[in-house]
């Protein structure tokens, strides 16, 4: 079955290449991607990085007509979006939809309509971040994304400037069995700053989305990057965020995902310049029979960089979650400070979390701390809430909610924070599958 998917994927890539007058900019990217994809082993249980996540749902797409999707109703779309005071750019099934979008400010353009200056930026950066990783570790679906790239979005922030408003990139997958590809390139030149929010939503349909974002945060530049994977549970999403941080660059990243048929998101974040810093929070929720899989890989290639990573998840029902956090500290990367924490609430006996910190440290003068735990609700907090009249049932709900909401509360943008909080609240109000029943408070009774 895997071969069939691979063959069809490559055929599609070839068709696109010959059909359109494809920009020569993309030719080498596509070629390299197709080659890598063709050579890659199809994910399976024996594949270390796919051990716990099944790509079986992709089987549905082998026979499907990989047609383009239908455009959604603008009003219906509106109800799912919550980020305000931002430049909204909507992609439907991988295609830019101008009617649903704001005007693109200067520096932002589609690959297909890039001017000479933008083409230069694309040529200099596209595929370079993904390509900077050890070939053995390159991701199969990142390769497929490259092979399929026929357009994409460039966000370019010139030297010492900042984007007036955050970019709010909305990626919708609309119709059944649609297959879409999205490629984003974010380049911040020296001293630039920007905020980019990627929000993935979908109709309640099976669709396959492959979305890859490449980021270069230049010297002393600052990027706040948020990726919201809030699609329906029928979706198969594979995605990645690959970033290179240059000297004194700062990346503040936030990721949140709810499980689905397949949801696999890889973060490959490379410290390439001294003094770069990364602050990365993530949240995942999985219930019913969903699966969700975050693989993060932080490479410290040079000295004096810091990375802080906090991931929290709640897994219930028969769902399965994976957090694989890799920290790779190169031999030269002395004085690195790297921290990683992953805490999980398991709310049923049939839920599964596979958490795996992977540390590879070749430098001898570094500080590196990590912790991965299955945790329980705080008994003292439960008692405190109950001592104010809150029922133990509601107290558990509030504490389970708070367990992940804590990470949301530190988001800087109010509409984003509130919107996500409402989204989260809705998840909790649908059923109790995300509520931990551990640590049940006993009633104190008088003894004999």
């Amino acid at each position: 079955m895997s071969q069939l998917f691979q063959q069809r994927a490559l055929t599609l890539a070839a068709q696109q290449a010959s059909a359109a007058a494809l920009s020569d900019l993309l030719q080498s990217l596509r070629l390299q991607g197709a080659q890598d994809f063709e050579r890659a082993t199809w994910p399976g249980r024996k594949h270390e990085h796919w051990k716990y996540t099944s790509v079986q749902p992709l089987k549905n797409f082998e026979q499907a007509d990989w047609a383009e999707g239908l455009y959604p109703d603008a009003a219906q779309l509106q109800s799912q979006l919550f980020v305000e005071n931002a430049t909204r750019l909507v992609f439907v099934d991988g295609r830019f939809n101008a009617a649903l979008s704001d005007e693109m400010p200067s520096g932002i353009s589609l690959f297909s309509s890039a001017d000479a200056a933008a083409r230069e930026v694309i040529a200099a950066n596209l595929g370079k971040v993904v390509g900077s990783v050890d070939p053995q570790r390159r991701n199969l679906f990142a390769a497929l994304n490259s092979a399929w790239t026929d357009d994409g979005l460039l966000i370019h922030v010139p030297r010492n400037t900042q984007l007036d408003k955050p970019v709010y990139l909305v990626a919708v997958s609309s119709s059944g069995l649609s297959v879409s590809n999205l490629r984003v390139l974010i380049v911040l030149e020296q001293g630039a700053s920007a905020e980019v929010i990627e929000h993935f939503i979908s109709a309640d349909q099976q669709s396959f989305v492959n979305a890859l974002t490449e980021i270069v945060v230049g010297d002393n530049a600052r990027l706040h990057h948020v990726r919201l994977n809030l699609e329906s549970e029928n979706v198969s999403h594979v995605g990645g965020v690959h970033a290179n941080l240059m000297r004194d660059a700062s990346l503040k990243a936030f990721a949140i995902a709810e499980g689905a048929a397949l949801k696999r998101i890889d973060y490959q974040l490379n410290h390439c310049g001294k003094g770069a810093s990364l602050d990365f929070d993530g949240v995942y929720l999985a219930r019913h029979e969903q699966q969700v899989d975050y693989h993060t890989c932080i490479e410290h290639r040079v000295p004096h960089c810091t990375s802080q990573q906090v991931f929290r998840g709640i897994v219930g029902d028969k769902a399965r979650a994976v957090f694989n956090g890799r920290i790779h500290i190169f031999e030269d990367a002395q004085k690195t400070l790297a921290e990683m924490s992953n805490r999980n609430l398991l709310t049923s006996n049939t839920a599964e979390i596979n958490t795996k910190p992977e540390l590879e440290i070749y430098a001898d003068d570094v500080k590196c701390a990590h912790g991965a735990t299955i945790t329980q609700l705080d008994e003292t907090a439960l008692y405190y809430l109950q001592s104010r009249g809150v029922s133990s049932e509601q107290a558990r709900m509030m504490l389970s909610f708070g367990f992940v909401n804590e990470l949301l509360m530190s988001l800087p943008q109010e509409s984003l924070r509130n919107g996500l909080e409402n989204w989260l609240r809705a998840r909790f109000s649908e059923d109790r599958s995300l509520v931990s029943d551990q640590g049940s408070g006993k009633v104190l009774t008088a003894g004999v």
Partner: protein, 249 residues
């Protein structure tokens, strides 16, 4: 209001309360003082029903009901309130949400309609001013990153919103500077009424200058060994607890 009769209780295998008896009438303010380890905090935890605090014998009637028949939350809804010595931080749960859930539960129990979010917000904001707390604290996680004094004022804020029948203040004065102490005391005094009682647990007579008690009890070895009026507190401040222990009472 509260009748405690011959109460024995243990925590972590250690017997702490040894036949404690105490009657508190409506509108009365009782101070409980005593050396470290005498059972002052245990009393509050036993009365609210904290897990791990095991009642061995004795009974407690709260407004005529058998207290030990009630869950932790039922006791609270009946109007029992403990201002914690160490208020708990709950990151991720906003103070506002916490307060509203508490007040909703109490009002529901009393057969009153839930306050709308708007009305509650208004009430909560007004009350923060009474305890000299910045309304911005309502949006933060419960007690998260609050200073010691802010946490104690947040306890008083909860007390004012919940309008309990019996308030137990467990060393609410510890760690407070004089300004915060006055704010807390003013909050308590404003709440004093003919049908609301207080148990003020403290180490220091200082608080009792501001919250003047009707009775002062000395708790030692897990029971009340001496009862007096506010003059007793002054005597304790001057002489310590040693003389009581020597008298062997």
């Amino acid at each position: 209001m509260l009748e405690i009769r011959e109460l024995f209780a243990k925590v972590e295998g250690k017997q702490i309360l040894n036949g404690l008896s105490l009657n508190i009438g409506p509108g009365e303010v009782h101070a409980i003082m005593g050396p470290n380890g005498s059972g002052k905090s245990t009393l509050g935890n036993v009365l609210t029903g904290r897990e791990g605090y095991e009642v061995l014998s004795g009974d407690v009637k709260f407004k005529g009901k058998d207290l030990f028949e009630l869950d932790v939350e039922e006791r609270a809804r009946e109007g029992l309130f403990l201002a914690f010595q160490y208020p708990v931080e709950i990151p991720g749960v906003s103070n506002m949400e916490f307060l509203k859930a508490s007040v909703d539960a109490r009002r529901k129990h009393l057969g009153l309609p839930e306050l709308s979010s708007f009305d509650f917000m208004k009430l909560a904001r007004e009350t923060t001013q009474k305890v000299n707390l910045d309304p911005a604290f309502l949006k933060r996680g419960v007690n998260e990153g609050f200073s010691g004094g802010e946490k104690k004022r947040n306890e008083i804020l909860q007390m004012m919103l919940l309008e309990p029948s019996l308030c137990i203040l467990d060393e609410t004065d510890s760690g407070l500077d004089i300004d915060a102490l006055q704010v807390v005391a003013a909050g308590v005094n404003a709440m004093r009424s003919a049908d609301r009682s207080f148990i003020v647990v403290t180490h220091y007579q200082r608080l009792l200058d501001y919250i003047v008690p009707d009775y002062v009890h000395v708790l030692a070895g897990g029971k009340i060994v001496r009862t007096g009026d506010k003059e007793l507190a002054k005597e304790l401040e001057a002489r310590g607890y040693g003389w009581l222990e020597q008298e062997g009472v």
